[in-house]
């Protein structure tokens, strides 16, 4: 008998690396993804190198030159304390990106763990947790965030904790749905028939197969986190002055819109909008690639 006495399937065999490359190629060919990546890439660059490249010190007051309109000297004008709006917008990317990313990472870690456990064990625990999740989802994020931050006092750490925990049930729900279909596959039973412990089945066997949805969910939530943090800062519950935070800048200057001083409000607002749109474009690109 020959060693390979059977027929190959119609699929052309390729290595695992090639199939990963194939997915990467799909992602990179997506225009949605590329546009998003360029926008987000720009802001990441600002966050990393902003303080080194901006023309002015974003914290330096210059009361004599307050509320100057955009000019060749101050491209985005100056704010009510005479600080350079352009420098503040560029440097402001750092805080929001760090806080939003940390918050989303926290939410994704907790949510994935919770989703795996509830989806795999089902039963009463699952029912109980999911009802709590439903209750959580019924209240707007910002309201929960506001309440928690009022109780805990605003700081970067508390913002990360609050947003991360608020996201946990939402992410758990998505992961749980993926786990529910995954646990029906026989490889899970094969693992049980080797006496594997539940934690290994969950994190060693099932988790690698739901990483796609987790990645997509992470990106989507990152967009929401940016938006939520900007909102909290605007309401005075997020990042505190004198940090060059975008939401904070809008909060400090929107009262001046009536007087015609639009620039300290418009440019941070545009920054928030582009970053959120960029992240969402990336999320769309990833979703398309993973759903094929």
């Amino acid at each position: 008998m020959s060693t390979v006495d059977e027929i190959a399937p119609i699929v052309v065999h390729d290595s695992a690396r090639a199939s990963r490359r194939e997915r990467l190629r799909l992602v990179l060919r997506s225009r949605t993804f590329l546009v998003g990546a360029v926008i987000v890439g720009f802001w990441v660059f600002c966050a990393l190198f902003g303080p080194a490249v901006v023309p002015d010190d974003p914290y330096a007051d210059d009361i004599l030159n307050r509320l100057q309109p955009p000019s060749s000297e101050h491209w985005f004008g100056t704010d009510r304390l005479g600080r350079d709006v352009f420098s503040r917008v560029i440097v402001g990317a750092r805080d929001i990106l760090i806080v939003a990313t940390l918050a989303t990472v926290l939410g994704t870690l907790l949510g994935t763990a919770l989703g795996l456990v509830t989806g795999y064990f089902r039963g009463l625990t699952d029912e109980a947790i999911m009802r709590v999740v439903d209750a959580f989802l019924a209240i707007p994020i910002v309201v929960i965030g506001l309440l928690a931050l009022t109780a805990l006092g605003p700081s970067r750490v508390t913002v990360v904790l609050v947003i991360g925990i608020v996201f946990t049930p939402i992410i758990a729900r998505t992961v749980r749905a993926a786990v529910l279909s995954e646990r029906e596959l026989e490889y899970v039973e094969a693992a049980r028939l080797r006496n594997e412990h539940a934690p290994y089945v969950l994190f060693g066997e099932i988790l690698p197969n739901v990483l796609g949805p987790v990645l997509v969910e992470f990106t989507v939530r990152l967009g929401y986190a940016i938006f939520a943090i900007a909102t909290l800062s605007f309401l005075g519950f997020g990042i505190q002055p004198p940090a060059p935070d975008w939401g904070l800048q809008i909060f400090e200057h929107y009262g001046l819109l009536g007087a015609g001083d639009w620039w300290p409000t418009l440019f941070p607002a545009l920054a928030i909008a582009t970053l959120v749109v960029g992240v969402n474009l990336i999320a769309d690109g990833l979703t398309q690639a993973f759903e094929r």
Partner: protein
């Protein structure tokens, strides 16, 4: 035959002339069909056979003009009832699909819209063909009655998920016939169905064809089904039609080495594993779109000569109406056997005590407020080195029994599972490592049974670590040994499941099951997702492993030919009860239980005309409300009378080692089963 007379005037129902189709995969156009020519006369039924990847479904899609976006016809022509399909505009194609051609797919559950009532969907087919709403509903009801759906009006109000697979397929056939098509394309129409239901659907198709005179293109991997349903047959290999002829002649006297090889792969004619291994077709299907200068089958042919690799064989006329694309068609039947006669005889060792015994196994599921008795007091035993075949329709409890034995499903109180005389815990958590590794399983679908993120090596290594406690070098060595024992090329150990063919994946799954030197391996339809030549190789492997290791198998399959080949003893399950147990030969031959009789007779026979079909009325009853008395009485063609409805017969030993659950005495069964049952028409 009227079809022949009609063909003088009417154009052929389907005429493919030198049809070539290519698919664009990874930036390159690859030929999938290589100049296929065939003609189906009006009223004729034509079968297209071949293994997966040979181009059967591509042909069907081309005829429907449903090729996916990356596929295109690169040459040749398609005429349906005289109309040139490739010259049609998009509008004309829509009209063509609604009037001239219909297709029935393999998976009826996916072909029906789950959110629409069956009646609306069937009626829509009539509306598309031009009927008014009211008329369409009326005609849908008529058509459903015509496809032998009793109480059509009630069925029309149901949703697809409320119907069984057989009923869904009938509804789809009704839809396909709505436009009175010139050509009906059936793509594996019965592949997902139970043998008994398959037989009924095939009867229905044959009956409708006789009545309506529809031409049929019947695509199937099942040669016996095609032989039964078709007048002429074409054999496809690597996108080439390699042989064509009248069905009975072609299967009786194949003239292409590929056809010869395919037929030899099938376990049939009552052959069992003790006599000889199954023949296989060595080698692999050529890569999709490969350039093949000579004969497409040359690389795998046992009769290959130099000329085969250089010169493409033309279609040789073999006899009237028969062609073969083989330079040496006269010698095709001399194709050397790949399998020599079995050297090691049947592995069945001395009887001794059973390895695995189950007594009074019951399992009740709670479903929608009802108690569903999936298993009701099953007692069975598997001896050392023995293969116990488990047969029965879907819903008979085969898989539940296997899961209870493995500890994956907790049985009801009172169930006793014993391994070597030791009582086992009901769930895996209550069993020790030794006990867990003693009972393993090979699942039906290797795609979902293997974690797609892990390499074959990692899958095997993990099993060795957990079940045997091996680590490091000892473990790597053992992985290699396991791979060799299942004839899995060790160079492929780094590959993940997606990169492996179905047969190779199943080998990894088998190696995993054998990692901890199991006593009993449950094989749950291990070959039903595979092609016949691969199936043959896997069955041979299972026999070989059993011979070497003395393992016992619990072999679940709906394919009675496969069970007959592999099993030493057979248990027949119906509604969670054992109806008959005995040696394989005893169970398959009369006298046997009326249910077994029906199962055996439902299998399309290859040799001769076979026995008369025993029809089973209706469907398997719900396990939530099993019938009173003998649970089979509602469908039993040999029902005695009131006693069957009132009293459940015991599972009695009627001969040594042969147990039956029937009120009819054995001698009487022997007598009556020599003749077809009363009130049963002979099958056409």
């Amino acid at each position: 035959m009227s079809a022949v007379a009609a063909s003088v005037t009417a154009p052929p129902a389907l005429e493919l002339d030198d049809l070539s189709v290519a698919f664009r995969v990874r930036g390159r156009w690859r030929r999938v069909l290589r100049g296929v020519s065939l003609t189906i006369a009006p009223g004729e039924s034509y079968g297209l056979v071949g293994e997966s990847g040979c181009g059967k479904s591509t042909t069907a899609l081309a005829v429907m003009r449903y090729l996916p976006r990356n596929g295109r016809v690169t040459g040749g022509s398609i005429h349906v009832a005289g109309a040139d399909l490739l010259a049609m505009s998009e509008r004309e194609v829509l009209r063509y699909r609604s009037r001239s051609v219909s297709m029935v797919y393999q998976n009826p559950g996916a072909a029906l819209n789950p959110s629409l009532r069956v009646g609306e969907q069937v009626a829509e087919a009539f509306e598309v063909a031009g009927a008014s709403r009211q008329e369409a509903l009326e005609r849908a009801r008529e058509m459903l009655a015509r496809v032998q759906i009793a109480d059509a009006a009630r069925v029309m109000r149901r949703y697809p998920h409320q119907l069984s697979g057989g009923m869904q397929q009938r509804a789809l056939i009704a839809m396909a016939l709505a436009s009175d098509p010139a050509l009906l394309v059936l793509d594996e129409p019965t592949t997902g169905l139970d043998a008994t239901v398959e037989a009924e659907v095939l009867d229905l198709i044959a009956g409708l064809r006789a009545e309506l005179g529809t031409s049929i293109l019947f695509i199937s991997h099942n040669l016996a089904v095609v032989r039964r349903m078709c007048e002429r047959v074409g054999v496809l290999y690597a996108g080439r039609l390699v042989e064509e002829g009248r069905a009975n002649e072609l299967f009786h006297d194949p003239r292409h080495p590929y056809t010869v090889g395919l037929l030899r792969c099938l376990p049939r004619g009552g052959v069992s594993k003790g006599e000889r291994p199954l023949d296989t077709i060595p080698g692999l299907l050529p890569e999709l779109g490969a350039e093949l200068p000579g004969c497409v089958f040359a690389d795998r042919c046992g009769l290959v000569r130099d000329v085969c690799r250089q010169e493409e064989p033309p279609l040789y006329p073999v006899a009237r109406g028969r062609t073969s694309r083989c330079h040496f068609w006269q010698e095709a039947h001399e194709l050397p056997f790949t399998a020599e006669t079995r050297t090691a005889p049947s592995a069945r060792t001395g009887r001794g005590g059973p390895v695995l015994a189950v007594a009074d196994a019951s399992k009740t599921f709670r479903q929608e407020g009802q108690d569903v008795h999936a298993l009701a007091g099953v007692s069975l035993a598997v001896g050392p080195g023995e293969t116990l075949g488990l047969v029965g329709e879907s819903g008979s409890g085969k898989t539940t029994l296997a899961r209870v034995l493995l500890g994956l499903t907790a049985p009801d109180q009172g169930t006793i599972v014993e391994l070597d005389g030791q009582v086992l815990g009901g769930t895996l958590g209550e069993r020790g490592t030794e006990e867990v590794r003693a009972l393993q399983i090979v699942f039906q679908n290797p795609d979902s049974a293997l974690n797609r993120r892990f390499s074959a090596r990692r899958i095997l290594a993990r099993a060795l670590t957990k079940l045997v406690g091996l680590e490091g070098r000892r473990r790597s060595e053992r992985v290699l040994e396991l791979a060799r024992s299942v004839r899995f090329d060790e160079r492929l150990l780094g590959a993940r499941p997606v990169q492996l063919s179905g047969g190779l994946k199943q080998r990894v799954a088998i190696a995993r099951a054998f990692a901890g030197d199991p006593r009993v391996v449950v094989c749950d339809e291990p070959t039903s997702a595979l092609d016949v030549s691969v199936q043959a190789a896997i069955l041979n492997l299972l026999v070989e492993l059993q011979g070497k290791q003395g393992v016992s198998y619990l072999f679940i399959s709906h394919d009675l030919g496969v069970v007959r080949y592999l099993a030493d003893r057979i248990a027949v399950l119906y509604l969670g009860r054992v109806m008959e147990v005995g040696d394989a030969a005893t169970v398959f031959a009369a006298p046997h239980h009326p249910y077994t009789e029906a199962l055996v007779s439902a299998v399309p026979a290859f040799e001769g005309e076979g026995r008369p079909r025993i029809r089973l009325e209706g469907e398997i009853p719900s396990a939530a409300e099993p019938p009173s008395g003998c649970v089979f009485h509602t469908r039993c063609p040999r029902k005695l009378g009131e006693i069957c409805e009132r009293e459940e017969p015991p599972l009695a030993e009627v001969e040594p080692g042969h147990l039956l659950r029937c009120h009819i005495p054995l001698e009487e069964l022997r007598l009556v089963q020599a003749t077809p049952p009363p009130n049963q028409p002979r099958s056409p």
